[in-house]
């Protein structure tokens, strides 16, 4: 009797150890630089600049389709347990949301962040995801809906602005890396 071999229709692409480690470095830099951004500036959403930049760098440099999500989960775990984050477990959700937007838009938009317009748009939308994580946290606490909306919108708008800046910086870096032949 012939043995039937079932092949799944869709398999998760393989992530090489080298790429995984590079993504890990991006994730840790996202956390470390975020610490620096927390020191003196009192501008809403400023920590989104390194977060979006390094998560987009992970996705832009590695061809793995879920690179940003992997980096986001690593960065969230590092931030949650190893220090620096003031939000506890919610920080994992925040990193995941940012990373999911980046990975989703990398699949939908052309060029994988090579074009400044698409890259900037991705950065801004990824940054604005802070609105949802902040709204969810404040909602769980029981904050008044209007105040919650205003507070989350302020945070989200600031984060979107810094995300936009990160998105505009990234194509410059990716172009140089491609010129050196470091990424394809």
């Amino acid at each position: 009797m012939a043995r039937r071999i079932f092949k799944p229709r869709w398999q998760l692409p393989h992530l090489s150890l080298k790429d995984a480690l590079f993504i890990g470095f991006c994730a840790l830099f996202a956390v470390l630089v975020r610490v620096f951004f927390r020191i003196k500036l009192r501008i809403s959403g400023r920590s989104m600049l390194p977060t979006v930049f390094f998560l987009m760098l992970a996705r832009g440099s590695v061809s793995y389709p879920f690179a940003a999500i992997f980096a986001g989960l690593l960065a969230g775990s590092a931030a949650m347990f190893v220090g620096f984050a003031k939000q506890g477990p919610m920080v994992l959700l925040q990193y995941f949301l940012v990373a999911a937007v980046i990975d989703g838009l990398a699949l939908l938009l052309p060029g994988r962040f090579r074009h400044p317009v698409w890259s900037g748009l991705t950065g801004a939308l990824a940054g604005f995801s802070k609105f949802f994580s902040d709204y969810a946290r404040n909602f769980l606490i029981g904050m008044d809906a209007t105040v919650n909306l205003q507070l989350s919108l302020i945070e989200g708008a600031g984060a979107a602005l810094f995300g936009l800046l990160a998105g505009l910086l990234l194509p410059v870096v990716l172009r140089r890396l491609r010129a050196y032949g470091v990424i394809v």
Partner: protein
């Protein structure tokens, strides 16, 4: 000779806990954070504040200065009170805002204290229990090598400064010098990071990493 063995090492030798209670402390921190989200009344918040004070003493094994955390609380309270004043324009609204800020602080405080008091290696060991083995390996390896990568980035930075790049802190106040930072530091740092990742991956493979489906050993401290 072995009589002066450190406490944690002694427990290990006796087959005791490997993470020095960090897993237990992590659970307590998460439970306290979750309780803060559930507490709505002033009595509950007061009770939880007391429990947090005891927990902080336990986490640090002694009194701990909370100046940094209190600064965060003050800043957060100012923003929330401002917004509540704008919305309600009454003392009751302000009180509501203060309660929300208090609750938020209690949700964040245990995590902040835990992050300050727990050792990094212990946390990573606990992480390996809850994360997939590969992800835990990547995270712990990157943590171990990040000081080396930072050292290399520092060398790159100093080299570029000597070559005349306008990347000193006083130069970076002007945003048009940020391009220099990108070209002279960020790009070489990314290249260096990729090279280091390649070397670590090669070394790990040479030591049989991923040859077996389950992990067979874990590097020591």
């Amino acid at each position: 000779m072995g009589s002066r063995m450190p406490a944690a090492q002694g427990r290990l030798a006796q087959g005791g806990t490997r993470d020095d209670g960090i897993g237990r402390r992590m659970i307590v921190v998460m439970v306290l954070s979750c309780l803060a989200f559930l507490a709505r009344r002033v009595e509950q918040l007061l009770l939880l504040t007391g429990i947090n004070a005891v927990a902080i003493f336990w986490l640090h094994r002694g009194p701990l200065s909370l100046r940094r955390e209190m600064r965060t609380f003050a800043w957060q309270t100012a923003i929330i009170l401002g917004l509540h004043l704008f919305r309600f324009r009454t003392m009751a609204g302000l009180w509501l805002g203060f309660k929300v800020s208090w609750q938020l602080f209690l949700a964040l405080l245990p995590g902040m204290v835990f992050a300050r008091t727990a050792s990094q290696s212990g946390i990573v060991r606990v992480l390996t229990r809850v994360m997939p083995g590969r992800a835990a390996f990547v995270l712990s390896t990157c943590m171990r090598f990040i000081p080396r990568l930072l050292g290399e980035i520092k060398n790159i930075y100093e080299g570029q400064v000597l070559r005349g790049a306008r990347i000193l802190p006083r130069d970076l106040v002007r945003p048009w010098h940020w391009a220099d930072l990108l070209h002279c530091v960020v790009v070489p740092a990314v290249v260096q990071g990729m090279a280091l990742a390649g070397h670590i991956a090669l070394a790990a493979r040479a030591r049989g990493f991923e040859r077996f489906p389950r992990r067979t050993c874990w590097p020591g401290e």
